[in-house]
Structure formats: structure tokens, C-alpha cells
């Protein structure tokens, strides 16, 4: 009796609060038929915004992947002064408001920012341009790969690396022959999370982008523009693409966790 | 007050955990359920505690059926293998738990807990958390907690297995004394024969969900009813071809004779000291190895390579 009541309440909450938003995205996106959906998705401006989002992710994700491996390696394999501080700083980008994440770059590179005058003199555009979007995205996704790798490296311990060392392996050999193969799964998953977040980031990017149609519009920003212009069906069609990315991430996560067994 | 277990069976899927077990536990008795893991002893303990419902059979107290009674209403004191102390409560509140949930007046709770703290010799530690206690101290808290509501029977699941050897021995002696003092009917599960024999009035040896033998430690040690019981008690070996059919010989029953004519011809392969005894490895004429566990005086003068005769003071054949 209690079991049925509690299960019902839990399912009701999940249905109304979580499932309904997903369903309404799909319903609204297809409200005028598949043809209209396709038209909205293949629209020139939507296509440029998808291309920009992919381009930003293509720059940001590899950088943060390298950073993630390096940071996880340093933090998991060594004990040094300042390590705790570094760990805390690593979490900061995830807990700061996305609006603040965008703002800091405006303060550095905007027209009134520190480097603003110099950049203007040299005709370099960062804010309201692609470099600003890349920086803001890099900021908000900074620790995502490191966060996946760190617990794995901690739990694996350093026995295998030390063993390889005593067997005469060089530093790079230790990494490529021993460490890298064992972190491949978690690395791939971290990269996936980082990519999904990079494609979907809204707040930080919105602050630095300037919303220049066809130029600094990422896909999430394009959703906002369409929505604000009351093109609801088109907005939901574009949103359905982001929804697919999100759902795909979730399903891959499921596979990843059932594989690694935690 | 005696507890009768009548024809209890319990299956987990296709696994027979208990297979028609019948047993009477006398008032004030200290009974050991002895057996290897998976033999059903812990399941029986959980059935007694009301945590498992048997598929068939009854648990009675003086003819009064308890089977349908849940763990909550059975008033048994159960001590878990890993103690299961409540980590968020201190020692005092852990012990007081069964009284608190029965809504006893605070003064009574206080008095009873103080009494138990004294009994288990933990007076100074009332306000420690379980995490701040040693293994032996946790064990005693668990025991005090189980005793607080004056249970009709005290059940202990592998009570000493989570402790290191020295503490284990101290606690055994202490538990035996405590039992004599309180006289609570007590059942404990163990896979350690020394523990069972040292503590218990009677021992039930479990094998594949059945009671293989029930008796006092002396009865079980001296007249093991089956090869399983004999093997489980350990320090025994089976010999073929020295007598008619296979026979089992305990290491401590072997004596060595330099000049005797009777006995099996043997040659000493190795001599070494194992704690209080001397272990002599012998090669028999049949090629089999025989082990003799001798008192140190009896081993004096023996040397490797010596030819002599080995006599088994007792042999077990089981009419095979």
C-alpha cells in the first residue's frame, strides 16, 4: 500500500516535471508535420548556427580533453602543496553562474575591457565574435573531462605505472602503454559530456555573442531568437536537435556505466 | 522456557538453505550452530530472529507458535556479524534503542543502559560514536544493545569473526562468563570448531541445510557420526590400503614406537614445531604421508630418516 503510494508519487513527479518538457518539445516541433520540422531544421540560419556550434565544440573539446588528462594526472598521481586549492578551483567553473562566466570575458576583451582599446586598435574582435564564444564555452566546460578521469585514476592507484617504470619504461611509454589504455573509456565519456555541454551552453555564450544573426548565433541562441520572434514551431524544431544530443548522451552514459560497472 | 524448531525448510530459488530441521533449545542453554558457509546455520538464526519466514515448519516457545511473529514483535536479541551499530548514534543511544522505540520512561532507560554499560565494561565510553571504538568494544556494544530489552533468546551471528585473534579469545571467555551470569538462552553461529567447543553446552553441526549431528562437544569430538563431521573438525587424514577399507586417523591419535612390532612401518620425513605440539611427517610403506601431532616430550630423540612404527590409537571407519 505504502509502496504503491510512494511509487505513484515518484512516477507522477518525474512525469510532470521531467518527462512532460521533453514530450512537449517533440510535440511542438512536429506540430505542423514532419515537413515543417524538416524545413525549420534545414533552414539556412539554423544550419549556420549548427555549424557554428560544431565549430566551437571542435575547438574547445580537444583543448579541455588535453587539459583534463593533464589535470587528472597531476592531481591523482602526485601530492604537492596547493593541490587542495587546485581541486577546489577546478570545480569553480561548474558552480559559477553562466552569466558570470560570460561577463568575465566581456570585462577582459569588451570595448570597455582591459584589452578592449588595444584589440580595437589592432582590429581584433573577440567579444561579439567567435573567439569570445569559444572562450566562454571553454570556461564552462573546463573541468568536465578532468572530473571523469580523476576518480578513475585515484581508484586505479599507481601500482601499474610504477611497475612499468621498474621494467624500464620511459615517461611517455608509461603513459601510452599503461595509463592511456586504462583511461580510454572514461576519457571518451568525459569528451562526450564536454561536447554535449559545449553544444548546449546558453547563458555564458549569450552574454558574449551579441546575437548577430548568421554570425554569432550558436544553436541554443538560435532557439532563443526564434522563440522571441514567436516562431514557436521553428524554435522547438531547433530545440529538438539539442534534445537529441542530450538524450543520446544519456543513453551512452547508461552504456558506459553498465560497462564499467559503477 | 524452551524453543522448539519443528521441521523447518527454507529454499532460496533452487538452493535448499534449510532442509527439514528439527531442534529443541533448552532454557538457559548455550547452543552453537557449527558448519561451513552455505550450510544453513545463518538462515536458521535468521528464521529464529523472525527475519526470514520458513517455507515449511514452525518455531515454538513452550508449545506456543512464534512462526508468524515478525522480527519486531519476537523480542529476540540479535548480534550481527559486523555488529550493525547505528553510526549516527553514540554508544548510549545505540544501547537505548530498543527501549526508546518501546517508549520507556527516560529514567528507566537511563538506569537500564547504565546497568548494561557496566555489564559490558564500557562505562567511560557512553558518548563515543561507533566509529571511535575498537572492534572488541563494538562487539560489546552490539551485545549490550541486543540485551537491553531483556530478550527471550540471544542470537549471535559469527560473533567473533570480525575481530583479530587476541581479542577473539578474550571475548570468548568473557561471553562464557556473561552467559553463566545472565543465564539467557543463547544461540550462536560459527564456522570455527574451537569456538563452538570452547563456548557451547551443545553443538549442532550443519551440512547442506541439515543437522548432521547434535550433541555435547565431547560427544561430537569422540563419536563423530559421519565422515563429514570428522572432516569438518579437522586435523584428520584418510588412509587407504593400510587396513580393510579406508580409515580416518586424527593427527593427535598417532603415536610412534621405535621398538614396537605392531603398527605401520614408517619413516620420518620432516619434524617441526607447531605451537604447543610437534608435527612429524611420516612416509608409510604404502607411500602415503601420515602426520603425527605429538606432545613435545614424545618427540624427543626423533630424527629425520628414522625408521619406526606408527600406531593410530583410534581409527574411524564409518563401515564403508
Amino acid at each position: 500500500m505504502v509502496r504503491i503510494l510512494l511509487s505513484g508519487l515518484a512516477m507522477a513527479w518525474l512525469t510532470l516535471m521531467v518527462l512532460a518538457p521533453v514530450v512537449i518539445v517533440l510535440v511542438e516541433a512536429l506540430s505542423a508535420g514532419v515537413g515543417a520540422w524538416w524545413q525549420a531544421v534545414s533552414d539556412e540560419e539554423t544550419r549556420t548556427s549548427v555549424a557554428l556550434s560544431l565549430k566551437v565544440a571542435a575547438i574547445v573539446v580537444p583543448c579541455n580533453a588535453v587539459f583534463g588528462v593533464a589535470a587528472a594526472w597531476a592531481l591523482a598521481r602526485f601530492r604537492f602543496r596547493g593541490r587542495t586549492l587546485l581541486l577546489a578551483l577546478l570545480d569553480l567553473p561548474l558552480s559559477v553562474s553562466p552569466v558570470v562566466s560570460g561577463l568575465v570575458f566581456v570585462l577582459l576583451f569588451g570595448a570597455q575591457g582591459w584589452f578592449g582599446p588595444w584589440l580595437q586598435a589592432h582590429n581584433i574582435q573577440i567579444i561579439f565574435a567567435v573567439p569570445g564564444i569559444v572562450l566562454a564555452t571553454a570556461f564552462v566546460t573546463l573541468p568536465m573531462v578532468a572530473r571523469e578521469l580523476l576518480p578513475l585514476l585515484e581508484s586505479q592507484g599507481d601500482d601499474a605505472e610504477l611497475a612499468a617504470r621498474t621494467l624500464g619504461a620511459s615517461g611517455w611509454q608509461v603513459f601510452w602503454l599503461v595509463s592511456f589504455p586504462r583511461m580510454r573509456g572514461a576519457l571518451a565519456y568525459g569528451v562526450l559530456l564536454c561536447m554535449a555541454r559545449a553544444l548546449g551552453e546558453f547563458g555564458a555564450v549569450s552574454v558574449v555573442s551579441g546575437h548577430i544573426r548568421g554570425q554569432t548565433d550558436t544553436l541554443p541562441l538560435h532557439v532563443e531568437i526564434l522563440h522571441n520572434e514567436y516562431h514557436f514551431q521553428a524554435a522547438f524544431a531547433a530545440a529538438s536537435l539539442l534534445l537529441l544530443v542530450g538524450v543520446a548522451t544519456l543513453l551512452l552514459r547508461r552504456l558506459h556505466t553498465s560497462e564499467s560497472g559503477h | 522456557m524452551s524453543i522448539e524448531i519443528l521441521g523447518i525448510s527454507k529454499n532460496f530459488g533452487s538452493f535448499k538453505a534449510l532442509d527439514d530441521v528439527t531442534l529443541t533449545i533448552g532454557q538457559g542453554e548455550l547452543l552453537a550452530l557449527l558448519g561451513p558457509s552455505g550450510s544453513g546455520k545463518t538462515t536458521l538464526l535468521r528464521v529464529l530472529a523472525g527475519l526470514e519466514l520458513p517455507d515449511v515448519g514452525k518455531v515454538q516457545e513452550n508449545g506456543h507458535d512464534l512462526t508468524a511473529l515478525g522480527a519486531r514483535d519476537r523480542n529476540v536479541g540479535l548480534v550481527f556479524q559486523h555488529f550493525a551499530l547505528f553510526p549516527h548514534l553514540d554508544v548510549f543511544e545505540n544501547i537505548a534503542f530498543s527501549l526508546r522505540v518501546r517508549k520507556r520512561p527516560p529514567a528507566e532507560v537511563h538506569e537500564r543502559v547504565e546497568e548494561l554499560l557496566h555489564l559490558v565494561q564500557l562505562e567511560g565510553l557512553a558518548h563515543r560514536r561507533p566509529a571511535e571504538l575498537s572492534g572488541g568494544q563494538r562487539q560489546r556494544v552490539a551485545l549490550a544493545r541486543a540485551l537491553a530489552a531483556r530478550p527471550r533468546v540471544l542470537l549471535l551471528d559469527e560473533p567473533f569473526s570480525a575481530l583479530d585473534a587476541k581479542v577473539r579469545h578474550e571475548l570468548r571467555t568473557w561471553l562464557r562468563r556473561l552467559h553463566e551470569e545472565l543465564g539467557t538462552t543463547t544461540v550462536f553461529v560459527t564456522h570455527d570448531q574451537d569456538e563452538a567447543f570452547e563456548l557451547a553446552d551443545r553443538v549442532a553441526v550443519f551440512h547442506r541445510g541439515r543437522i548432521e549431528q547434535l550433541g555435547t562437544p565431547d560427544e561430537i569430538y569422540d563419536t563423530p557420526k559421519s565422515p563429514f563431521v570428522l572432516d569438518f573438525l579437522g586435523n584428520v587424514q584418510w588412509l587407504e590400503g593400510v587396513e580393510k577399507g579406508p580409515v580416518a586417523v586424527r593427527h593427535r591419535d598417532v603415536t610412534l614406537h621405535v621398538d614396537g612390532v605392531a603398527g605401520w612401518p614408517a619413516r620420518i620425513v620432516r619434524i617441526h614445531r607447531t605451537g604447543s605440539r610437534v608435527r612429524v611427517d611420516l612416509q608409510l610403506a604404502t607411500g602415503q604421508l601420515l602426520i603425527a601431532a605429538l606432545e613435545p616430550p614424545a618427540a624427543q630423540g626423533l630424527f629425520v630418516g628414522q625408521e619406526l612404527r606408527a600406531v593410530a590409537e583410534r581409527q574411524y571407519g564409518f563401515g564403508a
Binding site: 505504502v2 515518484a10 512516477m11 518538457p21 521533453v22 518539445v25 593533464a70 589535470a71 594526472w73 597531476a74 592531481l75 598521481r77 602526485f78 601530492r79 602543496r81 596547493g82 587546485l86 578551483l89 569553480l92 567553473p93 558552480s95 553562474s97 552569466v99 558570470v100 561577463l103 568575465v104 570585462l107 570556461f139 599507481d158 605505472e161 617504470r165 615517461g171 603513459f175 554535449a196 548546449g200 551552453e201 546558453f202 547563458g203 549569450s206 541554443p220 541562441l221 532557439v223 522563440h227 524554435a235 539539442l242 544530443v245 548522451t249 547508461r254 | 523472525g50 527475519l51 522480527a71 519486531r72 529476540v76 550493525a84 547505528f86 549516527h88 530498543s98 522505540v101 566509529a131 530489552a149
Partner: protein, 278 residues
């Protein structure tokens, strides 16, 4: 590197210099230098300047809404999250895996998508909004809308911190309580909930922190009515749009300080949990 105090044996484990070098360089370029720019910029306002920028009724109302709605949303998440974690761990739901995946959805859904979807649901003639309308309740474009959006994004934080604790909780503790005579309600109240308290607090703090800074999922549903449904991040953006960098910076320092405080609290909770589990 003067940073190093202890190395096991010389060069036993390779790569400290390189990995730490990459870490500190990239972290500084992308996060530390920009964040310190914010702090320095705020410092240049002077205390009076800063105070002027963060006082005024509009700021006060936005802060009250941001923190108030976040508190309520995190509270709702804590209740619902506990319930959902309990049901997922202890009962077998039909399509269990489906519900389990669903919990993570707010993590994975880009905030802009969540924003427009929630708005469409809760507008007065939306699927769910129409049930509130007859009672005079307005959800979208009013304060409740803010709470709905914040409760949406915060839910997985609570479920995912409580769930592992519930899963690893020893069944024995509950059995022990039962054999000591506790009723089911007493078991939940005296044994289960106390052991979940640190996880619930952590989940609450995570959901709260996320909610206070949230932007994307709120701006669509809140209707952006200044002094009424304007959350602080939105006020920062609108100040930026009016080139009021000083005002935006001052507000941002409040948000940053809040993040730092929450991170510290979470750190303390974490070490407290480790201590309790020892």
C-alpha cells in the same frame, strides 16, 4: 617548481612538471585570469561604488527572488529527490531503467531547451498551466514559474547524491532496528533518515547553488518583469546590455562569492561525511 614538497623517489612517477604545467597554464588562461579580472574590476569601484551598485530596490528584489525561489526549489528537490531515490532503490518500478534515465535528463537538456519547453507547459493555456489557471494561479510569467524551472534543473543533484548512499546502506541496520522492536515508521525516522542526512544536505546545497546561478531555463518562463520576476543573473545581463559594466561587475561579485561559499560548505560536508564513514 617550488610548488613541490614531496616526491616519492626521484622521477618514480613521470610527468609532474608537464601535466601540472599544462593544468595551471590552461586553468589560468581560461578561468583564473578572467575571474581575477572580475575581482580587480570590482575592487576598482571602491567600496562605496560597489555598495551603490548593489543597493537599490531593483537589486534587492532580484536577489530576494533568486535566493528565495532557489531555496524553495531546492527544498522541493530535496523532498522529491528523496522520494524518487527511495523508490528507485527499494522498489521495482515498471520500466525501472526508463525512470532511472529520466532522472538525469535535466543534467543533459540544454537550458534553453528546458526554458522554452517549461514555458510552453505552464503558460495559462499550456498542458499543465491550464490546471493552475482556474485557481487563479499563474505559473509562467510569475514567481511560481521561476520555482518550477529551478526545481526542474536541481532534481538530479539530490537523487544522484542520495541514491548511492541508500544503495550502500546496510540492510543489516534496518534489520537490527526491526529485531530491536522498531516499527517501520520508527526505522525510517530513527535509522534511515539520519544516515541520509549528510547526503540530503549535500544534494540540497548542490541544487541550491545551481539554482541561484541559473539563467537559461528561467528567462523564458519568468517573463522578465523588472522588480517582479527578474532574477539576479538576468539583471546582470540587462545591465551589460545597457553598458553598465560597473553595475554588472558588482552584482557578479556577489554571485562569485556565493559560489565560493557554497563550494566551501560542500567541501566541509564532504569531509564530514568521510569522517562519519570512517
Amino acid at each position: 617548481m617550488g610548488l613541490l614538497t614531496k616526491k616519492r623517489a626521484p622521477a618514480a612517477m613521470p610527468g609532474l612538471g608537464l601535466s601540472l604545467g599544462i593544468t595551471i597554464t590552461w586553468l589560468s588562461l581560461v578561468a583564473l585570469i578572467p575571474l581575477s579580472a572580475l575581482v580587480i574590476r570590482a575592487g576598482s569601484l571602491g567600496f562605496q561604488g560597489w555598495l551603490d551598485a548593489v543597493s537599490g530596490e531593483r537589486v534587492w528584489l532580484s536577489l530576494r527572488l533568486s535566493f528565495g525561489a532557489s531555496l524553495i526549489a531546492a527544498g522541493l528537490d530535496t523532498l522529491a529527490g528523496l522520494l524518487i531515490a527511495w523508490v528507485l532503490c527499494r522498489y521495482k518500478l515498471p520500466f525501472q531503467a526508463f525512470w532511472d534515465v529520466l532522472v538525469d535528463l535535466p543534467f543533459a537538456l540544454p537550458t534553453a531547451v528546458a526554458g522554452i519547453a517549461l514555458t510552453a507547459l505552464w503558460v495559462p493555456d499550456g498542458w499543465l498551466g491550464r490546471f493552475a489557471a482556474p485557481f487563479g494561479g499563474k505559473i509562467a510569467f510569475a514567481e511560481p514559474g521561476v520555482i518550477v524551472a529551478l526545481a526542474f534543473i536541481g532534481l538530479p543533484f539530490v537523487v544522484r547524491t542520495v541514491q548511492p548512499v541508500l544503495q550502500s546502506a546496510e540492510k543489516e541496520l534496518e534489520e537490527a532496528a526491526e529485531s530491536l522492536g522498531a516499527s517501520p515508521v520508527q526505522i525510517v525516522w530513527r535509522v534511515v533518515l539520519p544516515s541520509l542526512r549528510p547526503a540530503l544536505l549535500t544534494g540540497f546545497a548542490l541544487a541550491f547553488a545551481r539554482a541561484v546561478g541559473e539563467y537559461g531555463s528561467v528567462i523564458f518562463i519568468c517573463g522578465n518583469i523588472p522588480m517582479k520576476t527578474e532574477i539576479t543573473p538576468l539583471l546582470i545581463v540587462s545591465r551589460l546590455e545597457q553598458y553598465d559594466y560597473a553595475g554588472a561587475t558588482a552584482l557578479a561579485t556577489i554571485m562569485l562569492a556565493f559560489s565560493a561559499v557554497i563550494l566551501t560548505i560542500l567541501q566541509l560536508l564532504q569531509s564530514g561525511r568521510r569522517l562519519a564513514l570512517r
